[in-house]
């Protein structure tokens, strides 16, 4: 090769050059910064502005957080140690930790009970949240509400056991008849459960020991973040079945059923949750029989459940509407009746579509449980604004307490939304 060009071309490279690294302004961090931070003049200005904002935020909060005190016993003592420097007084969190989490009236010697219930909650939620776990674990999930009720409220163990027995009897009756007819199985199961509970209500006072294993704690003594968790979890789990029923009712071809569901959903969605909580605190008692005493916790649970059920119904209606019409027609052409078609074909698909929406509602609902502080229940926000800020020791410790509440809610809500995104990717069966 080289011989042919020897006379016509002065120089020919015969060996390949080793690969050189790219110029420093076309690769690596410099290029990245040029592309992403300083692409144009406007962009550079934006970057500087954003960096300045971040600097302002961190330069004021970081020393405040890291200079914080954790072990004093009152704000006055804190200020004495700090000598006028700006730093947090986190000792309010350590000193009032139990009040923030459990409320100020829950008996301190029983704090282990809600704690065990919390651990059980994670065990019970695990098989619901992660499909890879063995399905047998769902039995634990089914047992959890009864165990948690017994742990938190205490009293005789026979009440949750009777409630559980009612569900079991109802399930067996349902399983016996559902093959013939869904309606027969469903209403038979409900009736059997009712009968069991009625009989149980007669038996329990007779067999209950005078001194129960766990001492009873009235529900007005519940408080703190525990109350937020309990309201959130109970109301979301109760409102999903109710929401499904409302959504199906709204799609129904029977005008009366449809009309009832539409009025209920639109009414609830049209008013703020606060007014419904007012109903729970001042009005609902008028609608119960005069001799019945329904405590505030239960009344609040009823109203919040109705509230979130209306929203969940709308989400599920969206899922039902998003299904192709062919699915409904295919179910009909297979000769399935309404209950079979819904249970086996429509709902599994519609619910899958609705999961992100339902999780959004659940997160919103969990945040809205702070509203109960307005009707003088002492949840986390109620505890902070009420007993803790009003006490002489901690009068004026706003940022530490409010920041703690904000962080706690952020961790839970952000965690749930990240889970929902993971689940959405996991459930995606379409090919993209």
């Amino acid at each position: 090769m080289s011989d042919t060009h020897e006379h016509s071309i002065p120089f020919v490279r015969e060996t390949e050059l080793p690969q050189q690294p790219a110029p420093s302004n076309a690769a690596g961090p410099v290029k990245w910064m040029r592309d992403n931070l300083f692409a144009t003049w406007a962009n550079a200005l934006l970057t500087v502005a954003a960096a300045y904002i971040l600097f302002l935020i961190f330069s004021s909060t970081l020393p405040w957080i890291f200079g914080g005190l954790w072990t004093t016993s009152s704000l006055a003592e804190c200020r004495e140690i700090l000598q006028g420097t700006s730093a947090a007084c986190f000792s309010v969190l350590t000193e009032r930790w139990n009040q923030l989490i459990f409320g100020f009236k829950y008996p301190p010697e029983y704090y282990w009970r809600p704690t065990v219930a919390l651990v059980l909650m994670f065990v019970a939620l695990a098989p619901v949240l992660f499909f890879d776990l063995p399905r047998k674990l769902l039995i634990l999930t089914a047992l959890f509400p009864f165990a948690a009720y017994w742990l938190i409220w205490g009293g005789t163990i026979w009440i949750p056991i009777m409630a559980l027995v009612g569900f079991i009897v109802g399930y067996f009756v349902y399983a016996r008849f559902v093959a013939q007819n869904f309606a027969l199985g469903f209403f038979g199961g409900v009736a059997a459960a009712m009968v069991t509970w009625y009989i149980g209500g007669l038996i329990v006072p007779m067999i209950a020991p005078a001194v129960p294993a766990l001492e009873a704690v009235p529900s007005r003594d519940l408080g703190g973040f525990m109350l937020n968790m309990m309201l959130g979890l109970t109301c979301v789990s109760l409102s999903i079945p109710l929401g499904i029923a409302l959504a199906l009712g709204r799609q129904s071809s029977m005008p009366l059923i449809k009309w009832i569901c539409v009025v209920f959903i639109e009414f609830i969605r049209g008013v703020p949750l606060i007014t419904l909580l007012f109903v729970a605190s001042v009005m609902l008692a008028y609608f119960f029989p005069p001799e019945a005493t329904v405590d505030l916790f239960l009344r609040v649970v009823i109203m919040i459940t109705m509230f979130s059920a209306a929203y969940i119904a709308e989400v599920i209606r969206g899922g039902l509407a998003a299904l192709p019409k062919g699915q409904y027609e295919a179910a009909d052409s297979l000769g399935l009746d309404y209950a079979q078609a819904m249970r086996l074909i429509i709902l599994p698909q519609a619910l899958k579509i609705s999961i992100p929406g339902i999780v959004n509602i659940a997160v919103g609902l969990f945040k809205d449980t702070t509203l109960v502080s307005v009707i003088s229940m002492f949840d986390l926000v109620g505890m902070i604004r009420g007993p803790i800020l009003a006490s002489t020791d901690w009068n004026g410790v706003y940022w530490e307490l409010l920041g703690f509440a904000a962080v706690l809610f952020f961790v839970v809500c952000y965690g749930i939304s990240q889970y929902s995104q993971w689940l959405e990717r996991r459930l995606a069966t379409d090919h993209r």
Binding site: T47, V282, V374, V381, Y398
Partner: protein, 412 residues
């Protein structure tokens, strides 16, 4: 085929009510009607028995009686001698005020954050993502309380503005930020109709002028569109429209003698100008940034929903980049953004009821709070409260649906 759907021969049997699909829905609805009636009757009879036992009745007469409490922020004339009904109206106006203000600012925050989240700038993108995640995942009640605490505990008291070397000073000598609220200059008419005190008539005139300008500007825009369709050349409407908007209102203000009253320190407090109370600011600002985070997500989703082919097609036609945004991308994104935006506006209106937590006198705090506690008329107050919110919600969704329909893609 017809044999399959032959009408059944023979007489009507009772079991057909359940087993024949022609009658079954009738049966089910009859059962539902009976159950509903029974439930309503049960609730009503409990209510009647409870009211009888408590010696109460349902009556709305309390609305006419004297309220007996003061409201610190009112849009209309109100004293503690006014009736409960007047207090409720003050509350309604306050609810509408904060809801309107928060809707406007939340839209501004949301659109800005949503657009910046799609920016090429990595730092800005991450900053906006942080804003959206932080504000969406913390309850709005906590935000309201945090901002209210800033307003009351961090802001200086009016006392700090006194003396020769005050600890705080007013912004541009016009705005005073104190722990009792923000004081801003207030407009008044020195040569107005009805004396220098100013009467409502002056403001009606101003608003009427603005409405006339609006229609005038719209007429000019429509004319420009017509000319464009006829000749293909669009006349420049910017200057005429500016003149139509600004000209009449400036002339009117000069005639009426518009002046600004500056807030000034008198004694222990500021006087003059307009006082915007701390609770109103806390509620307004908290609702704006909280809902702004949700709107930002809607805006982002809306812009991302416009397929890239649209931008590329517009670029291939030779349209300039900023006109691609305004003529091609935004009109299509708006179609996706508007329905969730409507529900965010509804959420703002409903969340404004949290005013009760910071003592802003909205309808929930007046009718559902003080009036309820003073008169003990729980059922009537809560029913009226729900009725008000229902009417507001239905009105907002009706109005916004009309707008949505006008924006919708017209198909055949």
């Amino acid at each position: 085929m017809s044999t399959l759907s032959d009408p059944p021969q023979g007489s009507f049997r009772l079991s057909m009510l359940l087993n024949d699909s022609r009658y079954r829905s009738m049966t089910l609805q009859a059962i539902a009607a009976i159950l509903l009636a029974l439930a309503l009757f049960y609730l009503y009879s409990n209510l009647a028995a409870n009211l009888r036992a408590a010696g109460l009745n349902i009556s709305f007469g309390f609305l006419g009686s004297t309220a007996g409490y003061d409201i610190n922020q009112t849009l209309i004339e109100y004293t503690s001698q006014s009736s409960n009904l007047k207090a409720a109206i003050v509350g309604i106006l306050n609810t509408l005020l904060v809801a309107f203000l928060a809707c406007v600012t939340a839209t501004i925050f949301g659109v800005m954050a949503g657009v910046l989240r799609l920016s090429n700038n990595w730092l800005v993108r991450k900053l906006m993502a942080g804003y959206v995640e932080i504000f969406r995942n913390i309850p709005v009640l906590i935000w309201i309380i945090i901002i209210f605490t800033i307003m009351t505990a961090v802001m200086p008291s009016p006392r700090d503005f006194r003396g020769d070397d005050p600890a705080s000073s007013m912004l541009f000598d016009m705005f005073a930020f104190t722990n009792r609220g923000v004081y801003t200059p207030g407009p008044y008419f020195s040569r107005g109709i009805g004396g220098a005190d100013g009467s409502v008539l002056n403001w009606v005139l101003v608003i009427a002028t603005l409405i006339a300008s609006f229609f005038g500007a719209r007429f000019m825009t429509n004319r420009a569109t017509r000319i464009q369709e006829e000749t293909g050349i669009r006349p420049n409407t910017l200057w005429t429209n500016l003149a139509i908007w600004l000209g009449p209102i400036i002339v009117l203000c000069l005639i009426l003698g518009l002046s600004w009253e500056m807030p000034a320190l008198k004694g222990f407090n500021f006087a003059g100008g307009i006082k915007v109370g701390g609770p109103l600011i806390a509620l307004w600002f908290a609702l704006s940034i909280y809902t702004g985070a949700f709107i930002a997500e809607n805006v982002r989703a809306g812009i991302q929903a416009v397929s890239k082919g649209q931008t590329e097609a517009a670029a291939a036609l030779g349209i300039r980049p900023n006109r691609i945004m305004s003529l091609v991308v935004l009109p299509q994104a708006l179609r996706v953004i508007i329905p969730p935006l409507i529900s965010q506006y509804l959420n703002i209106t409903k969340n404004s009821s949290l005013a009760i937590a910071v003592g802003y006198a909205d309808i929930t705090a007046t009718l559902g709070g003080i009036t309820l506690n003073q008169t003990g008329r729980a059922i009537e107050c809560v029913l009226l409260l729900m009725l008000f919110y229902l009417v507001i919600s239905l009105t907002i969704s009706a109005v916004m649906n009309v707008y949505n329909n006008s924006m919708k893609l017209k198909e055949r």
